[in-house]
Symmetry: C2
């Protein structure tokens, strides 16, 4: 193909990045500015070592206005399903002032659209690989702001370890930064996958609906206090302090989702099976494990590394749990020497 | 037994009442005054023909300070489990100015502590039978206020059809009244029983926890608008108007419960199985059916009588549904000529 030939002739226009997904301890839900993805509140997350996206972007510098090609987990995306990625490629083209088309190949090592933030790791990797292949040198804050335009939580996946996304009030001020690196606290996220079905409503649509919930203002009002607790808990590696607020904010976000118009009910029967089991392990056996849930049915069980085998063994015995992905804190987005094509 | 002998000698000291449970369209959750059971907001309910409690109270006018005897669904209650009923008998004794002990026998025609308000029908029946057996003549508002002291929702179960409980600001002003009688609208409540296990936290304890939720103030603030919609919808027999607000307030109440400290999670896996199925029936098949959920795992499916067979057939095919109780609007609490003992 013409495009491949052009790329082969210009190897510097190609780059590959791996970025981890992240699990938010205080959630991003609801936007103050939908066009810019400026959120209603700060959020804090842990970048995951065990759930990541690897993306290669190659720009064809002999092209102008040609269609991009996007392959995700081996499937070439067409039309609407590629539109969000093409829109982000447009931002990268605008940044570099070039009309080049791109070929993008991206692979996740975890199931898509199931409450694991594939858009976080995917758009972080796309931003870093795409700008690197264009020869742009942007600092971390500018990369974070750029990734945020495509997916809010992607702004956090650029960084390793424990990360806070400052809400900010403008494109350049709404960016994430690392608060502790990945060696700070050997926390584990055991993701109990109870359903791999696609979501009824995507997170991006859901964020816009947050404004319709009677609970959004109340969550926004309380979240600063919860953020302060999470910062203190992470700094002190104090799970007993982190856990209750982790659960409270997840339940508050789902309370907002359920009471939106239309109502968003991401939970499935298996979600509740895991929640009730977890509470019993904690209350009856004293197992120090807490949960959070993203915009999907799967449950993220948060515990310290030493407790993880006991939690994983119990989780595996639950009928609703199809698969468990275990992950500690991972590194930030990194360019790789090898490419996907 | 001495007590039975005394009762047999004084037949006028014995009365039996049957009262229906009720399903709230706008929920009672949270108390402004815990001692008096004055609620945070007005509530509106439908009294159920198909789920009721029958209670016989006999006072022993030869006794003074002797222990009461309470038999519920064939089991004689001891100690703490009888305490709430004995406390209400104390209120009735105080009302009449007598020291007599009582024998109470009460039967529900539905499972206890499973999200069907057995305390509503039970305390309504106890109040009416107990005061009648004492020869007290109280008007409906005073009976409602008296029943409210034992169980908030019992204040509504005194009345048939569609009922609103005015929040009020004092013992005598916090009472329920009928807004439409049971012939007004042939609405059906199909109660999908997904778990007959006892609740982890009773409603009475839960009401006190509402104050700890970040969402309670927001729900209280929005509920007046929802009440107005429900009044209009019931007056016009308009299910399409009633349904969305019915679901919203149920989800809002569970959002409050989940974010209380400690968090109350009344839902079970089967709850979500029914909710997702119901949404699919409505969205994909156009079936006009809506849900509400009390402080328990069971789902109340609200539809018009003509739709009920189609809903019931679908419900019966769901693996999680153990049993269905179908009920239209029922009459208010009524004294019966026959007694349980």
């Amino acid at each position: 193909m013409h495009r491949d030939a052009a790329i082969e002739g210009a190897p510097t226009r190609k780059a590959t990045c791996r970025a981890g997904s992240n699990i938010a301890f205080i959630k991003y839900w609801g936007v103050a500015d939908p066009a810019l993805n400026i959120p209603l509140n700060n959020s804090i997350s842990m970048t995951l070592a065990g759930a990541h996206t690897t993306t290669t972007v190659a720009w064809d510098d002999s092209s102008s206005g040609a269609a991009d090609s996007v392959t995700l987990d081996g499937v070439e995306l067409q039309g609407a399903s590629a539109a969000r990625i093409v829109a982000h490629l447009d931002r990268l083209r605008a940044q570099a002032g070039v009309p080049w088309s791109a070929r993008v190949v991206s692979n996740n090592n975890f199931p898509m659209a199931s409450g694991i933030a594939s858009s976080a790791s995917g758009f972080a990797a796309l931003t870093v690989a795409g700008t690197a292949a264009l020869g742009l040198t942007l600092d971390a804050a500018r990369l974070s702001a750029l990734a945020r335009r495509a997916s809010g939580s992607a702004s956090r996946s650029l960084f390793g370890g424990f990360v806070e996304w400052e809400r900010g009030s403008s494109h350049s001020s709404s960016t994430a930064r690392q608060i502790h690196d990945e060696s700070h606290w050997p926390l584990m996220d055991l993701i109990a996958i109870v359903s791999t079905g696609a979501k009824h409503t995507s997170s991006s649509d859901g964020h816009r609906l947050a404004a319709t919930s009677p609970f959004t203002a109340a969550r926004t009002q309380h979240v600063d206090e919860w953020l302060a607790t999470v910062r203190r808990a992470v700094a002190a590696s104090d799970l007993a302090l982190l856990g209750p607020v982790l659960e409270l904010d997840a339940l508050a976000m789902h309370g907002v989702m359920m009471t939106s118009a239309p109502s968003l009910l991401y939970w499935q029967p298996g979600t509740l099976e895991v929640l009730h089991a977890l509470r019993a392990w904690r209350e009856e056996e004293g197992l120090p494990v807490y949960f959070t849930i993203d915009a999907g049915p799967n449950v993220h069980l948060i515990c310290e590394a030493e407790t993880a085998p006991a939690v994983e063994r119990r989780l595996a015995s639950l009928p609703a749990v199809e698969r468990i992905i275990a992950s500690g804190p991972g590194p930030g987005a990194q360019l790789l020497g090898e490419h996907l094509f």
